[in-house]
Subunit: 229 residues, 2 copies
């Protein structure tokens, strides 16, 4: 353990990453989270996961039963959500203040999210004007750990004639984000669905009441919109 006298011990870089990964898996699936899924999520081996969940279990961050998978405790969930909060605040800082593109912020935020200082996060939050969403449209949990759930739907769910405001993405890969940026499909744009091809499912949309564009089904299934009226 690299000694770090500069802040009172909270949770290590690695512990926070495990908790965050387990939290995200738990959000998606409801079932108990199994070893292999965790290993895949943080790109490590199942054996390493077993080692680590034993330790996290001893620290009361999750409940673990051999061969039965894990489940975060209340405490573990709190730490995970706090890590997500820090991640998304830093992404917002990088995008809004330092002018990083939305596909560039994630990797740097993966590092910044582990800086230990409650006061830093509070002041950053204030500096950013208490943002509710990060550059990808994901909600930023509050200090209290409450996540304001948004009622966005997939662009693919809109019918012809309906419209919505781009409010988030499902796929967070840099490749997809760059593609969207290149096509002016960024947060806040208004999309009106004009046609859905019966043959190849291409969706023709009008952007901000101006130019029209064809979107692949791969694209429309990965854009979240706030449906208008």
């Amino acid at each position: 353990m690299p000694k770090n006298i500069y802040f009172c011990y909270m949770y290590s870089f690695t512990e926070e990453n495990y908790l965050k990964a387990i939290y995200k898996l738990q959000e998606q699936s409801d079932l108990a989270i199994n070893t292999n899924a965790i290993a895949a999520a943080i790109q490590t081996k199942a054996a390493s996961v077993t080692d680590m969940v034993k330790k996290l279990s001893e620290k009361k961050l999750l409940n673990y039963e051999k061969y039965k998978g894990v489940e975060l405790t209340h405490l573990g969930k709190k730490v995970a959500i706090d890590t997500v909060r820090k991640h998304r605040l830093w992404e917002t800082f990088l995008h809004n203040k330092l002018n990083f593109a939305w596909d560039e912020v994630h990797d740097i935020a993966e590092q910044l999210e582990h800086i230990q200082s409650q006061e830093l996060i509070d002041k950053l939050d204030e500096f950013l004007g208490f943002p509710s969403h990060d550059p990808h449209g994901d909600p930023i949990p509050g200090r209290n750990g409450v996540i304001q759930q948004n009622n966005f739907i997939l662009l693919s769910e809109l019918e012809i004639g309906e419209s919505g405001i781009i409010s988030g993405v499902v796929n967070h890969s840099a490749l997809f984000l760059q593609h969207l940026e290149k096509n002016e499909l960024v947060l806040g744009k208004k999309l009106l669905v004009q046609e859905i091809s019966a043959f190849d499912q291409l969706v023709k949309v009008q952007i901000d009441d101006k130019k029209q564009q064809q979107l692949s089904s791969e694209v429309v299934r990965n854009i979240l919109v706030k449906k208008l009226s």
Copy 2:
């Protein structure tokens, strides 16, 4: 080693701290740096230092001869200065943008300085307006590693009738910084030396052409000023 796929490997948290500490010792003393001094500086044991300098030596970051102390190589010095640059930029950010007091920024910057992203530092620098000095008056090294040396002198070196602008501190402890802040002795204030007591060396100064104050010799020996004409 916590695996970190998110940035190409540069130098670890610990390596950067060793290099920075050795660099600062080298600045102060000229002689080769001995094991005990390093141990004291980073608050570890001499045995740990010996282990580490062997490794840093293998990585060509410093020259090490048993029982003779160490000396940074050109590369090691570059890494050290870059770490100082990051530290001071982050301190400036914390103070100027997040409104941390000047005695609160150091500990958090000790963490932030190890974030690995050249682009982040460049953009932060730009966001801050390419500051030349940190909140304590210490010069911020440039991208190229050049440190603009300033010609500040100790307040204790001013004669009666001379004046100067507070431009830095020697002692960086939170206690001292808080003391200065409480007495309005912050960067930018103009001080005119009016009297130096022959008995107890107390120095009477006038602050910004207004109120007068007595300063202990401990205080005047730890304030750096830019002498006025």
